[in-house]
């Protein structure tokens, strides 16, 4: 019986104007997003080829991550070049720095499309499931036959979920297939698995919004009320909580501004050079002072920043949208956790080669060779242990709770 209802839902969706609009939106957005982010990836890869360090240079540089086409995250920050030298780590930023319009609006990657646009679409599938059928009078007829309300609700959920998820997955897989025609985009089997996980999370995320839609529609008498409530909940979950949460966390954890750090570096460095020249003291001593003071400063900053990230993550988790963003970008390898891990490795690399760089002060450039920087991205196991598992479980929990509440609301629903 559940399947019959699901089929009825799918068939009626297929014929509806809503489905047409949604399908159009999905195809348009997923295709444009993949096309545009693919081009962005290629440009950044071209840059990477240019500044790739020659063997022996003490430069840490990572190639752009092909999964950044789907989840750009912090890939741009991660693929900067970090040059180790006696004055500290010199950073060169990449591509998009010339056009300020980039910093006005978030990148329209696949994750953004799912998180912001498709969540709205999922709500549109759910918002009138109960209240519209009541308004049309068909709910009475369905319940008049000997079907349990649980089965009706399950059928509705399944039918709408399939009419949302199947086109979504088809469009995405088709887009990915087209993407793979470009020989520059190479996914390893591991990355395919990660992409699969991201798709799984996306479907889970959309499932939550569908259940939420059904829940609200079972709580309201009219579809017009239901859509209003849902749109506000959507704005709250997708925009307000994640963005306000980060600001709120800053009120509790005082992190010094990053500019203060770079200013302090400059001050320490120029001071030591001056003192070294004036007193004729050993250059090495001055550099040791610079490194000691800066290390202290940076360590302090990183500790506080880690606390800030943890706190803002936990505040943001109130919204499944932030959970989804965190988990999916970490799995793609472009999240905040991965970035701080890369930085940790660069600091270790700096500590490993800085002694030799200082010792080689008088050696001509040609003869200096240092071990290359290598970075091994976190494995899926580490990513899951570092929070993604919790976020996934959290999304599952949101799904279950919203469906259970929808069931309770529907059981108590007055069909008259």
């Amino acid at each position: 019986m559940t399947w019959t209802i699901a089929r009825k839902e799918i068939l009626s969706n297929l014929l509806s104007y809503k489905f047409f609009v949604v399908l159009l939106l999905m195809v348009l957005l997923v295709a444009t997003s993949l096309f545009i982010m693919h081009r962005d990836y290629n440009l950044r890869t071209a840059d990477y080829q240019i500044i790739r360090p020659k063997p022996g240079e003490p430069i840490a540089l990572l190639a752009p991550n092909p999964l950044s086409i789907f989840a750009k995250g912090l890939d741009e920050a991660m693929t900067r070049s970090f040059e180790i030298g006696s004055v500290g780590i010199t950073v060169r930023a990449g591509q998009s720095s010339g056009n300020v319009i980039y910093s006005f609006f978030p990148a329209p990657d696949f994750l953004y499309i799912v998180r912001v646009v498709l969540s709205l679409v999922a709500l549109l599938f759910g918002f009138d499931q109960v209240s519209r059928e009541r308004e049309q009078g068909t709910l009475k007829l369905v319940l008049g036959s000997s079907v349990s309300r649980a089965k009706v609700l399950a059928g509705k959920w399944l039918g709408n979920f399939l009419s949302l998820a199947v086109p979504f997955l088809l469009v995405t897989l088709l887009g990915t297939a087209v993407l793979l025609l470009d020989p520059q985009v190479r996914f390893s089997p591991g990355q395919f698995a990660r992409l699969g996980l991201i798709l799984f999370l996306s479907v889970l995320y959309l499932g939550f919004f569908l259940s939420l839609g059904i829940l609200v529609s079972a709580l309201t008498k009219r579809a017009a009320t239901s859509i209003v409530v849902l749109l506000f909940i959507w704005a709250l979950l997708v925009f307000i909580i994640p963005n306000l949460g980060t600001l709120l966390a800053r009120q509790f954890v005082a992190v010094p501004p990053v500019r203060a750090l770079s200013e302090k570096h400059q001050q320490t460095w120029t001071r030591e050079v001056l003192l070294g020249m004036a007193k004729g003291v050993d250059r090495k001593e001055g550099i040791a002072t610079i490194i000691r003071e800066n290390d202290q400063l940076e360590k302090d900053y990183r500790l506080k920043f880690d606390r800030l990230v943890r706190l803002s993550r936990n505040i943001n988790r109130v919204s499944p949208s932030a959970s989804f963003l965190d988990a999916a970008s970490e799995i793609a390898g472009t999240g905040i956790g991965e970035e701080s891990r890369i930085k940790g490795d660069i600091i270790r690399y700096n500590d490993a080669v800085i002694g030799r760089i200082l010792a080689d002060w008088n050696v001509i450039d040609k003869d200096k060779t240092y071990p290359a920087f290598t970075y091994k991205p976190r494995s899926l196991g580490e990513i899951f242990a570092g929070g993604a598992l919790f976020d996934t479980a959290w999304l599952v929990f949101f799904n279950i709770i919203s469906f259970a509440l929808a069931f309770v609301a529907f059981v108590r629903y007055d069909v008259r």
């Binding site: 104007y17 545009i36 982010m37 209003v228 994640p242 709120l248 200013e263 001050q267 120029t270 660069i346």
Partner: protein
Amino acid sequence: MMKTLIAKEVRANLLSFRFLASFVILFVVVAITAAVLAGDYTRSLDDYSQRQAEIEKYLRTYAHFNRIQGVLQATQPPIPFQALVRGLTADVNMEEFDDDPLPVMFPLIDLTFIVTILMSLIALILSYDAVCGEKEDGTLKLMLANNLARSKIVLAKFAGGALTIVGPFLVSLAAGMIIILAHPRLGWAGADWGALGLIAAGAIVYVSVFYLIGVLISSTHRSSASSIMTSLFVWVLLILVVPNLSPYVASFVSPAPSRIKVYREMRRLTDVDRDELGRKLSDEYRAEALRQYPVLAERLTESEVKSRVAADAEYRKAYEAMRAAVEKAWADANRIQGAKSDALEADLGRKEKAQTGLARAISMASPLADFSYLATDLSSTGTRNLEHFGRLREAWGSTFYGDYRTKKLAEFKARNPTADEWNTAIDMTDAPRFRYTEESLGGRLGAALAPFAVLLGYCVVLFAAAYAAFARYDAR
């Protein structure tokens, strides 16, 4: 009659659930945002004065002209308007190792966000069934059966609807203003209030655009269920898609060379290539000098050359000519390669500017981008302010490195003629400091006029379209 119609629209809206929900949400979000952002502003103000104190301390003891440019720099202080509009003020710092990636992942929420996302959504929610809803209820027939022009009905619907949205917006904004006024450390000047008034005017026009989009869509649809679908579809495209795609599309249409590539090329031109050219030119010029002064062909050791220069006036002349030739060769090489590298940089700058302009133009198809530009430019947190800041920095740079440094170096040289004036600590506490002042409101207004005009244009076109659609609407 107009009055009655508008009053009816306003009353119908006021009593509706959607109005109440919108009002509550708007009020709460504006109040929370203003409070949180005001706290954030005072924190960044403290941080800023602490940073300035560090610099002052440095200037007293360790300042020396060789490396002062790394320490004494023009920095943008936090401005009081950040308690409402954040714009481009997020401290991301991609140029340094320790950056702050949080604003990249979670963009900050501010008044611009509230207006662009929440208010536009509210406007559509209130207007998507303006016409088709009345048709479904059957009241449209009744209304039209009276002696009422359709143009009056559209105008009344628009005016009544806009009034009902503007009310809650202004009340919420007042709540935000009270929070700002009550904040002890947030000194807003007259220009700030003026800018806020202008931004509020822009917000009203912006909301009107979306209300009219709703009216237009509702008078092209038979049922409100399909009207809301189309409305949301248009909303998604205008708000969530067009602005975000615009810089990427612009980089596709009007490509700029990669900065990294250009800087590499520039470095090669002024380094390896310069050396090569310098060697080639100095060979040429030396050969020339040799032809003029054959005496130079003699092979001498360094000390022999020295003694001969001292003794022989003729040889000294030849020697000087040779040295001048070599110097000229390198100066020429520097000039030629420098010009090539400058041309590359200028070309990059031109192309980036073209691309930015195009991205801006494309994004202005979206009312969201128009309002964002309007609000950030008026509040000195946008691109206009970046340019203004650049000009101030340049002016300060020329007073510091021109007048002040020349004077200070001369003074120092007069006192201790033998010391190295570049690498000795000089008390620079009397140095001219960079003072940031916001651009005058008039200038900011000039920048905001273009997006404002686009929004107004949208209003006019949409109203005409809504009227045309409603005039042809089948009320049965």
